[in-house]
Amino acid sequence: MDPIDEDFSNEQLDLATLPQYESVAFSSVSSRYLIKMNIQTGILMLVLFIMLGVLWFFQLNQLQTGIILGIISMAFIFRFWNNYKLLQSLGYALRDKDVIYKRGFIFNKSTIIPFNRVQHASISRGIWDKILGISSLNIFTAGGSGSDITIPALDPEMAVRLKETIAVKISKDEY
């Protein structure tokens, strides 16, 4: 229950004048993320092709192999294209009171987390991140995994700066 402040007032809000999350300018992430995604997709493709090659050698005839090869290739062309689109759709923005993260081309999803609901933030770097010189920023809330966000492919200094900004915001905004 909220304690009622002395200077408490409760005027009616004009909804139209509220700040709109959908019209903020988003910063995009490093384009090296595309390299990372393509490497990962490429590895998967390679594995599948090798498996198909083995199968072709032992089991399948020319026609079957051709059909499967076609399907796999189509799927991967789509994946690579989707990776590209995904990178373009990735964006994050920090406002005074919250952080917004959007991603996805085919399934676009924006998540907005108010700073006074953030539990903690952390930076993680996978092996590819290290090679490519990028970092991921994870922001956790108490709302389960659907509610948390991971912003990939930030410049390491940027990630640290963001994390520290958020840390300051969390402790300042709380009480």
């Binding site: 229950m1 909220d2 304690p3 909804l15 987390i113 903690h120 996978g126 956790f140 108490a142 300051v168």
Partner: protein, 505 residues
Amino acid sequence: MNTEAYNTAQRQSIAGILLIFISSLYKLVKIFWAMGAYLLLSGPSKTTLIYTAVGLVIVTGLTLIYSYVYYLKFLFYIDYEREEFVLEKGIFSTENSAIPFDKIQQVYFKRSILQRVINVYSLVIDTAGSNQKEVEIKAISENDANRLSEILLKAKSEKVEENQIEEERVEAEDPEVWTHKVDILTLLKIGISTNYLRGLSLVFAFVVSIYNRINTYFKDRIEDVEVYFSQFSGVLQSIGYLVSLFVVLLLLSITITIIEVFIKYYGLKIQQTKDKLEVEMGLKTNTKVSLQPRRLQLMRISTNPVQKRFNLYEAQISLSSSENELQKNKIKIPGLGKEIVKKIKSFLYSNSSASQFKTTFKPDKLLLFRKISLAMVPALIFLVLWYFTALVNLQIWAVLVLAGLYIFAAIALQIFSFKARKLIFTEDFLQKKKGFWNKTEETLELFKIQSISVKQPIWYRRKNLVNIVFHTAGGDLKFYAVSNDILRYINYVLYKAEVSKGNWM
């Protein structure tokens, strides 16, 4: 704070290397033991054995190096300036977490057998949310563990204190106290009225089996009609037998449900004290839960027409789960009258005033089409099974009648439940209503949201539709295929959360 201990980067206890080493070896063994067993069983030659031994030595050496580096890279310290606990770890992929003092839920020790042997402790720092978000220092000496937890808990309580005092002042008021007990008769009513679905499926099974029986009779006797007439009484007899079986089954299932309800909810008692609602129930295991308004996240009230006649509503309440993981974070309270539901609501949402606006959103027709097409899938599977396999042994007219009935019922049901589906925004609350037969109504206090996700698949873009998910600490509230206009209210909800100083848990 008198000491500034742990303000520089600390490593774990040196014995931690051993712990990391042994646990990584154990992991390796777990992965490769099958290979080793295969090698031994296949009767290896001497050279293979030697190579294997050399390989093992190398792997062990590498693991040792890995453990040492991991130990070196595992750093933690307290940042007093920013008031947070920082932990860095990982060789190949690194992770850097910072936990603000006031987000710490609890600090506790754990010890496995191995940790006991090498005399170290696991220190776990728990924050709200799921398990993966906790921070664990696996090897820390008893001394360090005690001091660190003491400092962290102290820092945490200092941060939270001011807030607590204000809260107590509010709680010092004197609200009236009431008690509500659910009697045996009501429990009986619950038992009977919640059973209709099971009853319905029984009826269906009954009809199908009776049809099959008649069908086989017809098939066998189709050529000589005289015999068929003489057998007719036999059919009737077997129908009578089936009817009585059906009645017995129905009674049995009702009895089982009633027993279930009694075991779960016997002695259901709700009592409002000054600042919380105590709920007590259960025959075998007595569950006792206390509901504090600030811990409430989501409330769902459901009923169906039969239960509504009996004045029975079921409340399902989600609480924030962090403070005690053992405690159930979702409780169901059945058999509440309308007045009681009102009382509970007015207690849990005591500080809400009359709303200045009320806006209702309904999903787009697209959702209806999607739901209807999904509902058609079982009919399609059924038709395919009937056409291509011998699993379903029916004549064509029966198939057409069944399929027609199903399609008609499914479409009608989907249309009705589509019409019942709505999302209502008021000044402090969000309400989602749904269900044609089973009516449920979910209520969420706007400032209790953790975050909001707005989703838009590519095929929604042209119609400007979005899917909305409100995340809370007690589960999500979703609403699909709603017009873009809702974004204005999303901004309002965010505003409500961002200006709130209230404790959301």
